[in-house]
Symmetry: C2
Subunit: 441 residues, 2 copies
């Protein structure tokens, strides 16, 4: 350790960098030929699925030393990945205290606060002095505790009474009693809140760790902010995938099996397709108009897609605003009013461009040339109606879904577009019957 | 402070809870009538824009005590919001050391590592003993330093030589020299990397803080993970809004002005609309086929939307995978191969359902009834082609955009749908000319 450090050779970084470019077989080989210390650094910095990958073919005894490297919460994440029939056996590889803790963690759903938490944290008693507390922390530091910036003050019933930051400990005179310097204005998590709520609390309070309490106010562990960064990313990934009209993949794109990929995408694609089948019914309902004025069909894709696009804009804005709690259910009417004006303005904009298109870029068709003024009016008015309708549907659907307890992100761009397609056709042909009645129709 | 703490009255939480439900005017009033200590707790826990809101009407002297409550990085975030002409004056409210640090921070782009960092951190010298270090840290803790789990070891040139965690300090014998216990295998950020990269580093290494170095390896500050949670959320919000086919709003939905909302949505809606205008041109190119077989038009929305939906699925999956670095540019051909098989399978699925629709749910039209077998074949084959094409376009467009230096999230669901609409029509009518040539056409 006496060597002169070189900043630019950051070896963990380069280990991971190198490892991440290999395929599975080469990864195992690379891992096996590393120095033990390097291999350990690499292992500790990998996420659970990759750790599992590296361990999968090792003998139980070889597994033991790797698994024992991990903190209990990371260990629980890894055990979660073991098939149930192997999990019991693998748990025996842990020392009995850790095993006890890991089994406790495994009982929580993976994405609850309880599943994210670390059961090891620094406990103090209210009646300790600062000096005793510092000595006690120094002793506790010998265990692989996930030591962090705060120490938690518990009473004899394991109920949380206060929090002391290390800074407060350092600052206070050694003979002060912990009770008199601890913060009693506590922010905490219940063990059964889900990880979306956990990450919202962290983003709200900018804290490094939050204590987790069960329903009886007993302290069960802490969730640290470093685990939350990946949670926030995961949640965003799920939302983005749903917004694109897929079920959440729950695995990296290149890792998921072909069959799972087809299932996750096929289900929604089929649902949307069945919905879209109604466009054919809607159109057959207007077959008389179509056969009399085939020229109307030329603008069908233009009109329905404008409705779909404005709907997809509105739904993605509202879904995200709901997820970040920027708007709540009670704000639906404020959103509605905004979207009425937004939809009308955007519709007028597209209607105007559409009119220019019809007038200045004529299609060489005798019927068209003869009637282009009324066609222009039909197309423009339909665009205003369709864009308004799309914006309203896109904005209201997420509220409706949240209201009935469904994830608002289900109102994906494709889902909104499909809904708006059928109604867009009805709007278009209805406008056409009114405007063109007596001339073309 | 000697009162018995009550867990369920978590006053910061309830202060913020209450505050967040008020409108702007009521917020100011609520803030003014709070006890000073409560008001400070509330203020410290708000994000910069809300802090700015509360301060905006105070006199300079009143502002001073609030601004001085903040750590330099939070202070810089707040100053960023002041109009330029007021910023100089407001900076004078700070003590000269903090002012110096805040001006240094303001020089960085807000979303670089440099703009996120805190210039105050705990510095140690390599030749100190552990005992000296602990004494020194206790002295430093008197300043409002954003003390955290690590202390950084700098040489006389301010170059970073190593990192010691508090746990290491607590564990080591008091007479050991820092140099011999520090970690020299350093993970660090350059001051000019953007916040997306910063959050990637945090999510990769699960650390509480990372040191920031300039191009000459001088240590400039630290970025702490609690600031990163909001960054990750912001980045995801931008991506989700772009995916929905809007420009990133950069403001909560209910806060953005109506004009800005119209601009952010109108620009893309217009671009997409102009793109979609080509569908009318494409269709007029096939006017002969349409007039001979009007029945073909009934399936247009069904076919183009299936292409759009499969494209939107593929693009959202790939955009997210690129953002999380699950796939890199070099993986484009692996993705291409996956999408060929996925597109063919999904296309076959929809083609099969489409065929059932045509055969078992006939439209009452003499031409249709006579030719429904060939129509079913035309619709099915077109669906396979369009879904395959949509999947490929959706998956490849994000790669292409990244390659030419544009944010892949620009390949929004609506943008991909628009591209696929025009080509989908061409595929449909081309298949129709071949299959129906001699019978319907």
């Amino acid at each position: 350790m006496e060597t002169q450090p070189e900043i630019d050779k950051s070896s963990v970084t380069s280990l991971i960098e190198h490892w991440s470019q290999l395929n599975l077989e080469d990864r195992k080989e690379y891992f096996n030929q590393l120095l033990r210390t390097d291999a350990e650094e690499l292992f500790l910095n990998l996420k659970a699925p990759y750790q599992y990958e590296l361990l999968s073919e090792l003998s139980p005894l070889e597994k033991r030393s790797w698994i024992r490297l991990l903190a209990p919460d990371d260990s629980a994440d890894l055990f979660q990945l073991f098939p149930l029939e192997q999990r019991q056996e693998a748990l025996l590889l842990l020392d009995s205290q850790t095993r006890h803790e890991v089994i406790g963690l495994l009982a929580y759903a993976e994405d609850d606060a309880g599943g994210l938490m670390n059961p090891r944290y620094i406990r103090l008693r209210p009646e300790m002095t600062v000096e005793e507390a510092i000595r006690y922390i120094r002793a506790q530091a010998r265990n692989p505790i996930e030591i962090i910036y705060y120490a938690y003050v518990l009473d004899f019933e394991q109920k949380l009474k206060g929090v002391v930051s290390f800074r407060d400990l350092f600052l206070a005179p050694p003979d002060r009693v912990i009770q008199t310097i601890m913060k009693t204005d506590l922010i905490f998590l219940r063990d059964n809140v889900d990880q979306e709520e956990v990450s919202r609390q962290f983003s709200r309070y900018d804290l490094l760790a939050l204590p987790v309490l069960d329903q009886n106010d007993h302290m069960k562990g802490i969730v640290t902010v470093d685990d939350i960064v990946s949670v926030v990313e995961e949640e965003a990934t799920e939302d983005i995938q749903k917004l694109g009209g897929t079920q959440a993949l729950d695995a990296p794109y290149l890792k998921i099996s072909f069959i799972d990929m087809i299932k996750k995408r096929g289900v929604w694609l089929t649902i949307l397709f069945v919905g879209e089948l109604f466009t054919a019914s809607a159109m057959s309902y207007f077959e008389y108009e179509i056969s009399k004025a085939v020229v109307l069909t030329l603008f069908i894709p233009l009109i329905i897609s404008s409705g779909g696009n404005s709907g997809s804009q509105a739904s993605s804005l509202i879904i995200r605003a709901l997820a970040l709690r920027e708007v709540g259910l009670k704000d639906w009417w404020r959103v509605l009013i905004r979207e009425v004006f937004t939809g009308l303005s955007l519709g007028a904009l597209l209607g105007f461009i559409g009119m220019l298109r019809v007038v200045f870029w004529p299609i060489k068709d005798p019927v068209y040339l003869q009637h282009y003024v009324v066609i222009a009016i039909t197309v423009s008015l339909s665009l205003v109606g369709v864009v308004l309708w799309g914006s309203l549907m896109g904005a209201m659907l997420p509220f409706l879904l949240r209201r009935v307890g469904v994830d608002p992100a289900t109102a994906s761009a494709p889902a909104v577009a499909t809904l708006v397609d059928v109604t867009g056709l009805i709007i278009y042909f209805s406008v056409a019957s009114v405007v063109l009645g007596g001339t073309l129709l």
